[in-house]
């Protein structure tokens, strides 16, 4: 059974079919790419998968569980975490606190325990710090753990968003243009990191990306969206040589 099973998904904004009858199935452990020209509906698709928008049609199954129409919070608890195309960090919190915020639901102690500094507070915080540092190390951010997130350079902000998403211990990780604004060196490094995350954390990754070197470098399969509809789907090399895909990208 596939980890993510999307069937006939769609949403309309006032007459605009932003996503229109999109279907896709992702296996556990896959590195999957969602590509398409600007305005094709890729980010909207992420917003549907994570409950930011409620779909007007279609169903979403995660690991056999129907998550269609659930709230963003419940969908995260069910196992989907994401990053945002326009970075959304907790900008006044330190780098490590951004990650620890992601650990909130999996490392618990009550508000009273925190306020009265009971032993469980110290024990849990220690575990949280260890876990957060472990995640930051993966992204080369552990030196900057006490920097305020807003003061990080752009590329590192993108990485911190991934670390925060991973902190929620998801089954499926959605990355919206993770390499945007990065130079070729940073992009190459990011590709390694994404592969590492998939291997070490047993993660399934769905990513949106315009950078074709990244897409062809790490994605095993692709779906191509165009005007909200599925244009093409399959193995990366096949999809990228498809004439229809080439015209969609070069056309207009």
């Amino acid at each position: 059974m596939a980890l993510l099973e999307v069937k006939n998904l769609g949403i309309t904004f006032g007459g605009l079919h932003a996503v229109d009858g999109f279907s896709m199935s992702i296996e556990k452990g896959e590195l999957y790419g969602l590509i398409g020209p600007n305005g094709a509906g890729k980010t909207t698709c992420f917003n549907l998968l994570t409950g930011v928008y409620k779909p007007t049609m279609g169903t979403i199954y995660l690991d056999g569980e129907n998550i269609t129409g659930k709230s963003t919070i419940d969908i995260n608890k069910a196992g989907i975490a994401r990053t945002f195309q326009n970075i959304r960090l907790f900008s006044n919190l330190s780098v490590i606190d951004n990650v620890k915020a992601g650990l909130t639901n999996n490392y618990r102690y009550s508000t009273a325990t925190g306020v009265f500094r009971l032993p469980k507070f110290f024990k849990t915080e220690k575990l949280m710090n260890e876990k957060a540092h472990e995640l930051l190390k993966v992204f080369g951010l552990d030196e900057e753990s006490s920097t305020m997130a807003a003061n990080l350079p752009y590329g590192k902000q993108r990485k911190l968003e991934i670390a925060r998403a991973l902190a929620t211990d998801p089954k499926l990780l959605l990355l919206d243009e993770p390499a945007a604004g990065m130079n070729p060196n940073e992009t190459a490094e990011l590709m390694n990191t994404i592969r590492f995350v998939r291997d070490e954390f047993d993660m399934t990754v769905l990513l949106i990306e315009h950078d074709m070197s990244l897409v062809s470098g790490i994605c095993e399969r692709l779906s191509v969206l165009n005007f909200g509809q599925l244009l093409c789907q399959g193995k990366t090399s096949d999809v990228l040589s498809d004439p229809e895909v080439i015209t969609a990208y070069l056309g207009e």
Partner: protein, 365 residues
Amino acid sequence: MKGQIDLKRKISPATRGSFITYGMVTAAFIVTQILVSTGRVSNMFQGLLVPFCVYSIAAVSLNLTVGILGELSLGQAGFMCVGAYTGAIFSLMTKDAITSAWVRFPLALLIGGLAAAIFGVLIGIPVLRLRGDYLAIVTLAFGEIIKNVFAALYIGTDSRGVHVSLTSQGDLGLEPDGKMIINGALGISGAPKDSTFVIGFVVLLLTLIVMYNFINSRTGRAVMSIRDNRIAAESIGLNITKYKLITFGLTAFLGGVAGSLFSHNLAVLQASKFDYNLSILILVFVVLGGIGSMRGSVIAAVVLTLLPEVLRSINNYRMLIYSVVLIVMMIFTSNATIRGFFAANFAKLKGVIIKNKPDTAKEGV
């Protein structure tokens, strides 16, 4: 034990900041106590000692909602009013049963806080689900309603029990030996004057400890995440409504405690004291002290409570000086550029004095 070792190994900036505040408040308390006991303090100043604590607690707790949660509340006076009345009523009714103020007063503070927290949660449940400025509107209305209800409330007791009326004293039909507890707009008189500077200081210190511990905990982090980016907070599964309610409830609780501390410092407690102006005054303390800065709230509350009294002797220029101080404080606390400018020059100055190269001094920016 483990925790203490942890703290010693690496003291975080947050921990250091909180201990500076505790130290500052404690030092101010000790100096004041010495001055008072050596008779160097005017009556006017002595009369302000408990209000300093009351306003500081009210401001610090409001700062939790305004600075940490990022929601505007204009009803702090309402929560203080609830706390003031329930605390005073409790003390009046148990004055004979519990003779020790050391037992009775902490209970009165707690009960005042709990009553206010109940109102806070009741308001918060419908309102905090909404986005936008609804909380400001609803808390503003709440404050005014509470004030007016208490101003119209008559409660008395006699051998037949407790009588309540919203119209007049006569309406209660008390027996001749009955006792008035709340007398409408005339309020409550005869509640024991249990508030002292020592207790006020202890409660303020406890409030600060609760505040800092709350902020530097799992819950506080979640609350600040919600403040910084609601959509991202949802995407990592944070229950927005729950965290908002906890925070707002704590603000209301401590507002109620401040109110109860206040009412036990007055000969006569009247609801009219808890009007819109008081809410705004507390908000001014928070804004001028620096949104999100607990230490700033305490400083602003004390300075701005003291200032009008000190300036009474030069009555003509009083408001002029008061407004200049407000503006200067605002510039210092809320403008990052100017704050940076002063910090840089201060660091340079320090560099000159201790004969350091100005380059290293720049790090102070």
